[in-house]
Symmetry: C2
Amino acid sequence: MASIKEIAERTGLSIATVSHVINGTRKVSDKSKALVMDAIKETGYKPNYAARMLRTRRSDTVAMLIPNVRQGMPTNIFFMDVLSGAKDYLQLVGFNLIIATYSEEDESDEGDLRNLKVLRDQWIDGFLVVPNKKKTAIVKNILDNNNPIVLLDRAVKDLACPCVYNDTIKISRDVVDVLYQEGRRRIGYIGGSLESFTGFDRWKGYKEGLSACGLKYDEALVGISELHTAANGYEAAERLIENQADAVYVSNDVQAIGVLRYLKEKNIRVPKDVAVIGFENYEWMEICSPRLTTVCQEPYEMGRIGAQMLHRMLEDETYSEKVVLTPKIIFRDSHRRE
Amino acid sequence: MASIKEIAERTGLSIATVSHVINGTRKVSDKSKALVMDAIKETGYKPNYAARMLRTRRSDTVAMLIPNVRQGMPTNIFFMDVLSGAKDYLQLVGFNLIIATYSEEDESDEGDLRNLKVLRDQWIDGFLVVPNKKKTAIVKNILDNNNPIVLLDRAVKDLACPCVYNDTIKISRDVVDVLYQEGRRRIGYIGGSLESFTGFDRWKGYKEGLSACGLKYDEALVGISELHTAANGYEAAERLIENQADAVYVSNDVQAIGVLRYLKEKNIRVPKDVAVIGFENYEWMEICSPRLTTVCQEPYEMGRIGAQMLHRMLEDETYSEKVVLTPKIIFRDSHRRE
DNA sequence: TTGTATGCGTTATCAC
DNA sequence: GTGATAACGCATACAA
């Protein structure tokens, strides 16, 4: 591998000049410039990443930390889209993106801090993190080390750091309102753990939505489960239906699968007997019977904007912002009165 | 940030000894060892990644290159699983994983080579690549630079490099056989471009399967489209049904969505009127009507094995292997005679 | 407009 | 068992 020294020798110029040509960091005569360019082309010279990094203390690399994703799960579409958004932006501005995960189940913070090489070695310029309510240690660790960080998807309220997240509470209120407008009065809720950021907000919005409509919050119509599995959704649906729910807001895609399976098995007509509104907006929701009305987040945008914010933070230390995205409801057939 | 020099000073030992303690690379007295460990703990010293990299010429970082993924697509589940498998293994053995994508549409090879920073800068220890039939330039470029590479999902036959892929031809033959055993005689095929590795093999297996059953290959029962979209699947289904297909093998998940939508709209009963076998094995296929019988690949395994192979190549230059995975058919309800 | 020389933090070679 | 020191390739302060 050719080095800058070789280019200098070939061109009869100094290392300094060559370096300045490469980085455009001071005035160089056109003649020298051309000389250097030619030599670079001939030798196929590439600046040594490690050497540059050692000198400049910048790696042009950011890491994205997400919770461990289960195999074959629709949720993976969400994370992949977030990832794509971030990656597309970073690739554009010449940054590398490292991907790492932490375990959602493992309770010990120390485990993550020990296992995440990317946190241990201090060479990453900045972090994009999808945080977990139980695992704020990772975020704190990054902040303690004075590393730039942008939180994705979930805002950590007691932590003053930049983030991009969805206004889940508002959209959940809207969902309830839609169902109410369609004449539903026993509107149920199925969702994930209240210990999770997203689980809590979606549930909170549901509750607020009820009272905005003048409806009572009824535990019998609420199914919360720690794990997001189709089986959980199935069981929750069973209970809600037994308690005469006439509408269900399922606040995550995996449980929605279970809910739909239950309704189909029991020949409960959607939306005639029970209206359903789901979460996330994937193509496959088009082929449910009937086509599923859902809340639509914009994961790609979230990733892209987050990466952009982080990039800006790397150039301007004082920059900090909280960006709130507004999810939309995609109206299909499963919510409306027939 | 504390450096190795500081540790040396604190302990009264030399830099060399400290380095050897850290790397376990030569005998050091227990006493010195303890001294160093203590100093490291006190100062929170971390070896400088760039400096080490500069010296050793190893980054302990590999990059995964995949085709650009469209937003909200089930295919993303597949890639995310591949990614997870690779990442889990690499995280375990202390490697970083960089993720980058190339555009499937962009015809110019040069575009990718120019835009992919990870290919330009030569600091990645090895590559995991999901190749594209039209874009072998990326693979060749990596090989030309003498970088270790493992191909994922798709084997490039004229290129002798290690890979993990599925025996798609065989499983496609099996799919046809299953439908034949169920009494179907007008078995159609819907899939993606024959210009793609996967598209070609699935189609080839279908064709071979037909002749193994003594059935004629009939163009009227075959719908190939360049783009994998639900809309394409829809149109293809329309044509096949008009031509009296009594079974359809849809060889990718996105088009399957379109096919199912068409059949539902036209009230064509599955599997009574038309049997359907799909591809990929995601949870949402459970809630189709009826539950969709599908070919099941193991993307997570593929990623994990690929990473493992690459890791081994980095330690042993002579190592090279081709691993063939065997997909399975997940039997649900959409294939069987009622 | 250009060149010289120093140092970034390691690892590894050689010497003791 | 241990230490001194060169070298990795680059960016930059200082000098000309």
